[in-house]
């Protein structure tokens, strides 16, 4: 449990000839020994990007989920697509994408469906380890304007009962 990285005193570290800026004018030879800082951790990488990288190694080892919301990918998900999300416990959710929020491991997708003519929305964190698969069921012929489709709610553009329309096909 204890994490003492280096037990011992100064002999481990050699004094350095590092110039120190102080307000106090020192007499010649009176400057105290200044020890070198410890080597930079993570090769100087910033902590949060480093942690996200480490988290992706466990949450998304193949990089498949990241590709789903990567705008540079032509196959990337867009608002208007109908997706089916399958969980590890084999339950699934179907819905049309209303919005995609891109925020590293916190990225999520808002999907909408009509269940017994009642509009239902679920926000799905795509890197959640409980999610087994996200598959595209249907893509529209023509995408609506804007990347966030909040405006379609309760208008003539609103989603229908997706299960029923897919069954008809």
């Amino acid at each position: 449990m204890l994490g003492f990285a280096r037990v011992g005193l100064s002999p481990v570290r050699s004094p350095i000839l590092q110039s120190i800026r102080t307000f106090i004018p020192y007499r010649k030879g009176a400057i105290p020994t200044v020890y070198a800082p410890l080597p930079a951790k993570r090769n100087g990488e910033l902590p949060i990007p480093y942690l996200h990288k480490k988290m992706y190694e466990t949450l998304d080892p193949s990089g498949q989920r990241r590709e789903l919301i990567n705008k540079a990918n032509p196959e990337c998900l867009r608002a208007g697509d109908v997706i089916k999300v399958t969980y590890v416990d084999r339950t699934s959710v179907l819905g049309q994408i209303i919005a995609i929020r891109r925020s590293n491991t916190d990225s999520n997708i808002l999907i909408r469906n009509k269940i017994t003519r009642l509009g239902c929305e679920v926000r799905i964190p795509i890197f959640n380890p409980r999610i087994k698969n996200i598959e595209v069921v249907q893509r529209p012929k023509r995408y609506l304007a804007r990347s966030k489709h909040y405006y379609i709610r309760n208008t003539r553009l609103d989603v229908g009962d997706l299960e029923a329309t897919l069954r008809k096909k």
Partner: protein, 274 residues
């Protein structure tokens, strides 16, 4: 009369021997004086140290770096704060003999510009680079002391344990009572004029004839030391210097944070009162 003639030597009582040689008087009722222990004074440093709820080991110093979304193995999504533990080294040990209490002084980060002579000499003594932030943690006894020059890394804490995080909250400037003390404000209509966010009454009139001290009013809000108790440790990476703590920590990103084992859970007083 006999009591006056007793001479106390050490703990034993010896009756006086009259020098004239005529009589030797030793009363059979002579009571040996019982020397009682001096009672422990309540208002003393020693008693205060015994009463205090202290931890067996010191905490560590870090810097808040921001918040992330953390997933548990069960798929539960949690808001978590990332604290960077970088170059956290022991500078000095304080003991009862020299300072009146046991404590470990630590330094965090590196400061190579505008360092004062005092800090330079202090860090030289410990054999570490000049530190950006310096703080100390009280410990219960000498077994909690760590020799100067030792680096403490993030895996000092175990995943799943609870920690207390102390930092300085964000400044909110001069804030009104609704923001500062969660007052309800006054009504929107019914004759209220230009006082919708006011505090209302300050107290009674002639008796007491003054506003009682401590009355909650508008004023400067934030930039106060805040300790968030019992936050769970979600992840530690000692080599990378990263500590992930469940929930929030007061203050902006980049603020200095003191993290210690949860006092309410692991802290105990030596006399058993707490």
């Amino acid at each position: 009369m006999w009591a006056n003639s007793l001479r106390i030597v050490g703990n034993t009582v010896k009756p006086l021997v009259f020098s004239r040689g005529a009589a030797r008087i030793t009363s059979i009722h002579t009571v040996t004086s019982a020397k009682t222990e001096e009672p422990k004074r309540f208002h003393s440093l020693e008693s205060a140290n015994l009463r205090k709820q202290l931890l067996t080991r010191p905490g560590i110093l870090g810097v808040k770096r921001g918040m992330i979304s953390w997933y548990t193995d069960e798929g539960k999504q949690l808001a978590a704060t990332v604290v960077e533990i970088d170059s956290c080294e022991v500078l000095q040990n304080k003991t009862v003999d020299t300072d009146g209490y046991f404590a470990v002084q630590l330094g965090q980060g590196t400061k190579l510009k505008n360092v004062t002579a005092q800090i330079l000499k202090h860090c030289e003594k410990a054999g570490v680079s000049p530190k950006k932030h310096i703080a100390e943690f009280r410990v219960r006894d000498e077994s909690g002391l760590i020799p100067p020059g030792v680096e403490i890394t993030a895996n000092y804490f175990a995943v799943g344990q609870k920690v207390d995080c102390q930092s300085i909250s964000k400044g909110k400037g001069f804030a009104g009572v609704m923001k500062r003390h969660n007052f309800g404000g006054l009504r929107a209509t019914h004759g209220v004029s230009k006082a919708h966010r006011s505090a209302g009454s300050m107290g009674a009139t002639q008796d007491p004839g003054r506003i009682l001290p401590g009355k909650k009013m508008a004023g400067h809000m934030g930039v106060e030391s805040r300790t968030i108790l019992n936050n769970e440790v979600l992840h530690v990476d000692g080599e990378a210097g990263i500590l992930v703590i469940k929930g929030q920590i007061a203050g902006p990103n980049g603020c200095f944070v003191k993290i210690a084992d949860a006092k309410r859970i692991y802290g105990k007083s030596k006399d058993g009162s707490r």
